[in-house]
């Protein structure tokens, strides 16, 4: 058997991949060709490095090989077409190789530009997610397709259309200006957050969690945090993911059923992830602008640090949701605020808030409103009302595990009634 790469080198290759791809795209301005060339460079590394050892500068080595592959393709293509000028915007291949060899630009810009490109607002969220996982995360199309429960051909098509949209929009040529940067960073964070949630909740399919996607989101957010260490919201997003993911093992029962926060076995929570998230948040909060990701992380931290629901610092959570409400006009935040009100001031006060919230057209017929009402009615001792709203919520949710959870609650209350 030929020698293969050790785990550390494989890890290194994954870390280098977005930097190398970003650098190659910046020069050649062709997403698809650059991606193919980087794949070939990675294969070359996997076959050569075990024999020759790690090159002195692995990143420059990969950029050099990838650039040469593109140059070779261009040369072959040019010959085939009898030396017609094929791509006007291409810098001559020889220059590309020369540029690549003494690669001197700071590596951070390349990976960050690649993220900006993959999460560009011209792309739909699903396209941006797929492209980010493919181009930045280095996942195979098969792996991404499996995670989203669609056929590989469907995902391949989605990714290639995303690349096409990028090409047509001219995105690769535009590095965001200082003013655009904050907004573009916001798009990147949103896409990473969606990937995390996709893994944490599995918006499609019967499986409650696909932790590989959450893990990938955390890895990419760590990378982003290294690239922009001064951005407090990126730090907040990473803390939020760590503090949420920490509860993963406690979140589902043996047959995959959903276990809500107040019934989770807190001994199963990942203490080291909680410690890391809390430390990150503690270091970040005093540093300046506090945004929604930091506030959500702070809420997660309060939950994670409590020994039980009863011992949770609900007044602090109430204050944090109040803060979050002032930052964004989101009815889901208001709904969670109502829950916190109920925990601090009693279920009647929470139900009052729900009555006001029911008038919001964005929540009309939303199962979460019924589910929360059912919880609060149960706590207030109105079991008949709770049963009705548990069932109503179960009818309107599109989540299998949540439906099962709500129906079980309604059934439990019906039985105690008899």
């Amino acid at each position: 058997m030929p020698p293969s790469l050790d785990t550390r080198t494989q890890h290194l290759l994954r870390e280098l991949m977005p930097q190398v791809l970003g650098a190659v795209i910046r020069r050649f301005r062709d997403f698809a060709a650059s991606e193919d060339a980087v794949q070939e460079a990675l294969i070359a590394a996997a076959t050569q490095w075990p024999h020759d050892g790690l090159p002195e500068n692995p990143r420059a080595w990969l950029i050099h090989i990838a650039s040469r592959r593109i140059a070779d393709h261009v040369r072959a293509e040019t010959a085939r077409r009898h030396r017609e000028a094929i791509v006007v915007s291409l810098v001559p291949p020889e220059d590309q190789i020369a540029l690549a060899a003494d690669e001197a630009t700071p590596e951070r810009d390349d990976a960050l530009d690649l993220l900006f490109m993959c999460c560009h607002p011209v792309l739909s969220p699903t396209s941006a997610i797929a492209l980010t996982l493919r181009a930045v995360g280095g996942l195979t199309t098969f792996e991404i397709a499996k995670a989203f429960l669609v056929p590989e051909a469907t995902m391949a098509q989605r990714i290639s259309r995303a690349k096409q949209s990028i090409k047509e929009s001219g995105v690769p040529f535009q590095i965001p200006t200082a003013e655009e940067r904050a907004a573009r960073l916001g798009s990147v964070m949103h896409v990473l957050y969606l990937i995390f949630n996709e893994g944490y909740t599995a918006t499609s399919g019967p499986e409650l969690q696909r932790s590989d996607l959450s893990g990938e989101a955390i890895r990419l957010t760590r990378m982003l945090h290294r690239l922009v260490p001064d951005d407090t919201e990126v730090a907040g997003l990473l803390a939020l993911m760590l503090l949420t993911d920490a509860r993963r093992a406690a979140r589902t029962g043996p047959s995959g059923e959903l276990i809500p926060l107040d019934q989770q076995d807190r001994a199963l929570w990942d203490r080291s992830a909680i410690a890391e998230g809390v430390a990150l948040l503690t270091a970040t909060l005093p540093r300046g602008a506090v945004g929604p990701y930091q506030v959500q992380a702070a809420i997660a931290a309060v939950h994670d640090e409590a020994a039980s629901t009863e011992e949770t610092d609900w007044p602090q959570i109430l204050g944090l949701y109040g803060l979050l409400q002032r930052m964004s006009d989101n009815p889901m935040v208001t709904l969670n605020h109502a829950i916190a009100v109920a925990m601090v001031h009693g279920p009647a006060a929470g139900l009052e808030r729900l009555d006001a919230l029911a008038k919001d057209p964005r929540l009309k017929g939303h199962h979460r409103l019924d589910a929360v009402r059912a919880h609060l009615l149960e706590r207030a001792g109105d079991h008949e009302g709770a049963i009705e709203h548990y069932r109503r919520a179960a009818e309107s949710t599109t989540s299998v595990s949540e439906r099962n959870y709500l129906l079980t609650h309604a059934a439990r209350l019906s039985e105690t009634r008899k």
């Binding site: 989605r158 399919g205 107040d262 599109t398 439906r403």
Partner: protein, 131 residues
């Protein structure tokens, strides 16, 4: 979000299409092939199948011994599932748009059938902020 689009046809006897002129059958089939190709190219198609006709369908129940008891055709059905698509789209509106395209598949004389397409959301995982 994933949706299942179900194409229903009248349930008595074999598919109506069997009695169409050859040219119309060909146009209908070409439309269906092109439709699936278009959905595949847009990265939205998860699965699509056509089902054999009502005259070949069986209804199966387990008997007391667990062995299958089969009924033949069921003339009482007014509507019968002829085929389905599962699509993965960005919004319910997009699902309805695709369903409307399927509904307008050409029928006899090339006129749009405007047949009813049942649109059902495929159940999924829970929302992120579930208590």
């Amino acid at each position: 979000m994933k949706y299942m689009l179900m194409m229903n046809t009248p349930g008595n006897g074999p598919y109506q299409i069997a009695n169409w002129p050859q040219q119309d059958i060909k146009a209908h089939i070409a439309f269906m092939i092109g439709f699936a190709k278009k959905l595949g190219a847009s990265g939205e198609l998860v699965a699509a199948e056509g089902l054999s006709g009502p005259d070949q369908a069986k209804r199966v129940r387990a008997g007391k011994d667990g062995k299958p008891i089969t009924d033949g055709v069921f003339p009482e059905s007014k509507e019968f599932l002829a085929g389905y698509w599962i699509i993965d789209v960005e919004s319910p509106e997009r699902a309805y748009e695709i369903a409307a395209q399927a509904s307008a598949a050409p029928g006899p004389g090339g006129a749009p059938l405007n047949m009813p397409i049942e649109v059902r959301q495929v159940m999924s995982g829970p929302p992120p902020d579930m208590l």
